[in-house]
Symmetry: D2
Subunit: 142 residues, 4 copies
């Protein structure tokens, strides 16, 4: 396992909420990040689908990690939007985020969230957002 | 407690992920919904703040409930965006969503998420999104 | 007319595209901005409604001016989202943006766009976005 | 020229605002649309860059055309978000939208907007949004 992936796995393991969700960092390289979340009963809503909040968590966190792969670990997601496409029915969620633009202080990323069912991936949600570094005075440090 | 609030509390209690998060529906009326989430250690990220995924969950679910107050219980959030404003440091999150426009099939809502600290509310995130009814053929039923 | 409004009107008049659209700055104060656009035939799409691009322009530019009322004139809109609610049928568009949060480098605003018909305003679109100051190294200065 | 492109060019030519902007439909096929806008002085803001409103128009309209390539001509953009990445400095804007998901009533698309300078394309903005068909009762027909 390379250093960035090892480092990212440690960062994820240090987030209690990510541990609660059961998220794993399954790929991490400069400009991209992949989170995988096994779908367990506690992640569902009343109709048996994955709760939208879990899909949002996956997109948000994958975006943040992708941004951090460029800007370093001190980053936050500043904003993002998400479109839900299909109900999350399956065995796992896979969120893949890629950097589309970066400056010294900010990265814009996109993320595709797939739901895995019978070993096939179906696109479940698409997202786009901004990740900012905290190495400058920022609204996130107020 | 009125019928809509009682009904909404039951709906929330039937979502395993909402139970896992510890969300409570604290206000529910036609055109608006309020979710309150006590901040527990398991909802945090590595710096001790509430994880952004929890804030997103709060906004997303409050938007959905606000939409459902107009369209009925069979609704899903189709899309939304969120801007994070301040780190979530405090004892609880309060997400208040209001309907800004509704048609027969769709509702557009805004949501303000506050973090409560020493009995004072600070605006923590702002969100805007679309909730669609499932009473028609829809991408959410594919 | 106060200084900020006078200053803003000059800034708007210096934007050739705003002159082409026919936009007027009709209110400008710390934390808010209002643009008014008389609806002329050239601003329409094929069905006789105002083109969505004009509504987007109105929201985008009102957001930028609202941000500039706090951060000063050297600002750009970094990102925004918009939900179209009603077709733009009437005599004018009025876009009102307000600041919901500001730090030293960034402002988050919301904007309501109304269409005026028979002296009545109807909500036509709602928007939310981020305005950043250019007084720091920024992706907008690359 | 194939039928869809010819049809799309006629649709664009019937939008007075698109004629005012000077937009051309330069590619149109099931699932994608490309708009090209020569950068003229009247499309600029006070610093000599293309006005953000023009970039938004390009993204919005390319998204709508991409959606229409699947759903038919009676469509509207319901919502979208856009991140501005670089100032629009060059000779033309090129907006390329692609469909990422479609149902019978709704399409989700992404759009990349490039600015062309010295025959090189630079990514200038990225966008994501929802296009809805008007063949059903809709908020756009109120």
């Amino acid at each position: 396992m390379d250093d960035l992936l090892r480092f990212g796995k440690q960062a994820l393991a240090s987030q209690p909420f990510s541990v609660l969700i059961g998220a794993e960092l399954t790929d991490y390289a400069p400009g991209r990040a992949e989170l995988t979340i096994p779908i367990t009963p506690q992640l569902k809503q009343q109709h048996g689908f994955v709760h939208g909040g879990v899909i949002s968590y996956a997109a948000d966190n994958a975006l943040t990690f992708a941004g951090g792969s460029i800007l370093g670990p001190a980053v936050v997601t500043s904003e993002y939007k998400i479109n839900y496409l299909r109900p999350g029915i399956g065995t796992a969620l896979v969120a893949r985020a890629t950097v589309v633009y970066s400056s010294k202080t900010q990265v814009v990323c996109r993320c595709d969230v797939f739901v895995v069912s019978e070993r096939k991936e179906n696109l479940c949600a698409v997202s786009q957002g901004t990740i900012v570094g905290l190495g400058r005075p920022s609204e996130a440090e107020d």
